[in-house]
C-alpha cells in the first residue's frame, strides 16, 4: 500500500519536473518562462521528497526531506523574484501579447505630473 503511494508520488513529481522543463522551453519570454518553471518544479520536488520520505520511512530521512522541502519552498520564490527584477531593470523585451506593465505606467504618470 505505502509502496503504491510512493510510486504515485514519484511519478507525479517527475511529471511536474518534465512539465517545468517543457514550459521553460516553449514559453515566449523570460517572465512567462520563469512562472512556468519555478511553480511546477516546486510542486514536483515536493512530490519527490514526500515519496522518498515515505519510502525510507525512518525519522532522520523524513526530517531531512522535510527540511529540503521547506528550504526550497522558502528560497525559490525569492530567487525568481530577484531574477525577474534584474531582467526587468535590464529591459529584457516583454512578449508582444503582454497586457499589463504597471511599472511603465507608473513612470509615465510620474513624468506627466
Amino acid at each position: 500500500m505505502s509502496e503504491t503511494i510512493t510510486a504515485l508520488l514519484l511519478l507525479a513529481g517527475s511529471a511536474f519536473g518534465l512539465l517545468a522543463a517543457v514550459g521553460l522551453a516553449r514559453m515566449p519570454d523570460v517572465f512567462t518562462r520563469m512562472q512556468a518553471s519555478t511553480k511546477a518544479s516546486t510542486l514536483g520536488l515536493g512530490c519527490l521528497l514526500a515519496g522518498t520520505a515515505l519510502q525510507l520511512g525512518d525519522p532522520a530521512s523524513i526530517v531531512r526531506a522535510a527540511s529540503i522541502g521547506a528550504f526550497v519552498m522558502l528560497t525559490l520564490p525569492v530567487a525568481s523574484h530577484v531574477i525577474a527584477r534584474a531582467a526587468y531593470l535590464r529591459d529584457v523585451p516583454l512578449w508582444e501579447g503582454t497586457v499589463i506593465d504597471q511599472r511603465r505606467e507608473a513612470e509615465r504618470m510620474k513624468n506627466e505630473e
Partner: protein, 87 residues
C-alpha cells in the same frame, strides 16, 4: 514494481534536465540562462533525492541539502551581477 517506477522517474528527470540544458544553451538573454540554471539546480536535487530512495543511501539527502543551498546562492549572485551590470 518500485524498481521499474524509479527507473522511469530517473529517465523522465534526465530528459527534463536535457530540455533545460537546451534553454541554457540557446538563451537568448542572460536572465533566460539564469532561470534555466535555477531549474537545473532543482531538478538535480530531485534526482539526488530519488536516488537516495532507490539505493537506501541516506547520506544522499545531506548532499541534496548542499546542492539546494548552492543553487539558491548561485542564482542570487548571478541576478545581483546582472542588476549591477545595468547601472
Amino acid at each position: 514494481m518500485l524498481e521499474t517506477v524509479t527507473l522511469i522517474v530517473l529517465v523522465v528527470l534526465a530528459v527534463s534536465l536535457l530540455i533545460a540544458f537546451g534553454r541554457l544553451a540557446s538563451g537568448p538573454t542572460l536572465p533566460d540562462r539564469i532561470v534555466a540554471m535555477d531549474l537545473i539546480a532543482v531538478l538535480v536535487v530531485g534526482l539526488i533525492v530519488v536516488s537516495a530512495g532507490a539505493t537506501q543511501e541516506r547520506v544522499f539527502l545531506d548532499a541534496a541539502i548542499v546542492v539546494a543551498l548552492l543553487g539558491f546562492i548561485g542564482t542570487i549572485a548571478y541576478a545581483r551581477y546582472v542588476e549591477r551590470e545595468h547601472d
